[in-house]
Subunit: 232 residues, 2 copies
DNA sequence: CGTATGCTTGAACGTTTTCAAAGTGAGTGG
DNA sequence: CCACTCACTTTGAAAACGTTCAAGCATACG
């Protein structure tokens, strides 16, 4: 097995504090695989056999019910997913698919649980990770329940601008249809919402957004760290 | 300090596995307080000074933004809340208020973090708790994004019936206005939605619900363990 | 070029909220 | 014991919001 990816995995908060011995044990049966775009990696309801780590590419977490489908989150390198299912040895609640060609590390769930049981440092790292994940879902739920779709979009754009280090214009990281689903609306509604933001200084050219008057947009969006801060 | 409540706290999954010594250390500065109904225990944005444990009564977790307010979850004895904020030493994302006269244990957050750092068993118990909490928020989000308000209500009623051990009729655990907020709708809309469920065998008399034809209601609700099972 | 895909637009429709008002019921004080 | 009050719930009508369906556009790709 090529071990080049060990370092990347080791670099994650989740694995950086544990002993070399336990880390090796964890990696013993782990492996890396390359996936083309649009591959469904896992399906909700399946038993959680592997903890997944996105090493490169982009992965969409989504959920289905009664013929509908909605995007729950998008994962970029380097991050893990379905940690909670792995820990509880419970079925996945979400499905995952690659959005681009992606390199994914797969760590057998039973190994994760075994090391978790004997390594306190690893257990503590998992706590930190889960607490963060929990808080980000709570924020997403507040976003959904307290804001209209226009307000959600406005805040999303402000967050994207922050990620682009405040640049006046930036590129949407994925298709608008997916963004719409992430924001809990239809593509048509997103299209109209983007137009509705024009009076607030939002210019759209394809996937390119520019925000000419951030203060004006903030007046509408009313961002708050208790919903919109990804670090908090 | 009376130590009668120690046993109740000790009985929680979260605290049952840790050593006596560490448990004592955790309880050293902890105390219990009685609150009347409608007291705001914590407010979102506040620093997380205490881990709270509901020993009796009922507590509502809610969130506010821009003049709106929404109910996020209701806690019954015996359970903890704001564990994630305590662990990360971050501000509360939700506010909490008593719905009834309640007995709440307060454990200083810094003590929780200190014991967490030295007690692997406690860290593992926290992981289990957080993973469960995470999964329940994910389910709530799927419920919100994939279902209409009528479908959410129908599934809620089926879950309540399960909690009542399948009894044909049961009582709603709190006011309809709060239920509406929990389900992400207005009281008016809930009122109409309950009427709309009459053809599916749902009879309403004040807070008393009876489900005369569960199969019929399930046909509309299409419950799934991946959203509606509280144990999974 | 032609075709596939995603995006936009328009119109109709359905759902949900808002506002206003009336009904209900529990608890209080006369 | 009754009348009053207050809070919650229900109802109705109108408006806002969001979805659906159908068609047209743009763009990228063979």
């Amino acid at each position: 097995m090529p071990d080049s990816f060990f370092e990347e995995v080791r670099g994650l908060h989740l694995f950086s504090e544990m002993s070399e011995e336990n880390f090796s044990a964890l990696m013993r049966a782990a492996y890396v695989q390359n996936f083309p775009p649009q591959i469904e990696l896992i399906s909700e309801g399946d038993p959680s056999d592997f903890l997944h780590v996105v090493l490169s590419g982009k992965v969409d977490l989504f959920a289905r019910w009664n013929g509908h489908e909605t995007s729950m989150a998008t994962l970029r390198p380097v991050s893990t997913f379905i940690l909670a299912a792995t820990i509880r040895d419970a079925p996945y609640l979400m499905s995952a698919r690659t959005l681009e060609k992606s390199r994914i590390a797969l760590i057998p769930s039973q190994d994760v649980r075994a090391i978790f049981d004997i390594d306190g440092d690893f257990a503590r790292a998992i706590v930190a990770e889960l607490a963060l994940a929990y808080r980000s879902v709570v924020k997403a739920q507040k976003d959904l329940k307290l804001r209209s779709s226009l307000e959600r979009l406005a805040n999303y754009l402000l967050r994207q601008q922050d990620r682009a280090h405040g640049a006046e214009d930036f590129t949407l990281p994925y298709e608008k249809r997916r963004l719409a689903s992430l924001l809990g609306m239809t593509p048509e509604n997103l299209s109209r919402a983007l137009k509705a933001l024009k009076p607030y200084g939002v210019l759209v050219d394809g996937n390119r957004i520019s925000i000419t008057d951030r203060a004006d947009l903030e007046g509408l969006a009313k961002p708050t760290p208790l919903i919109d801060d990804f670090l908090l």
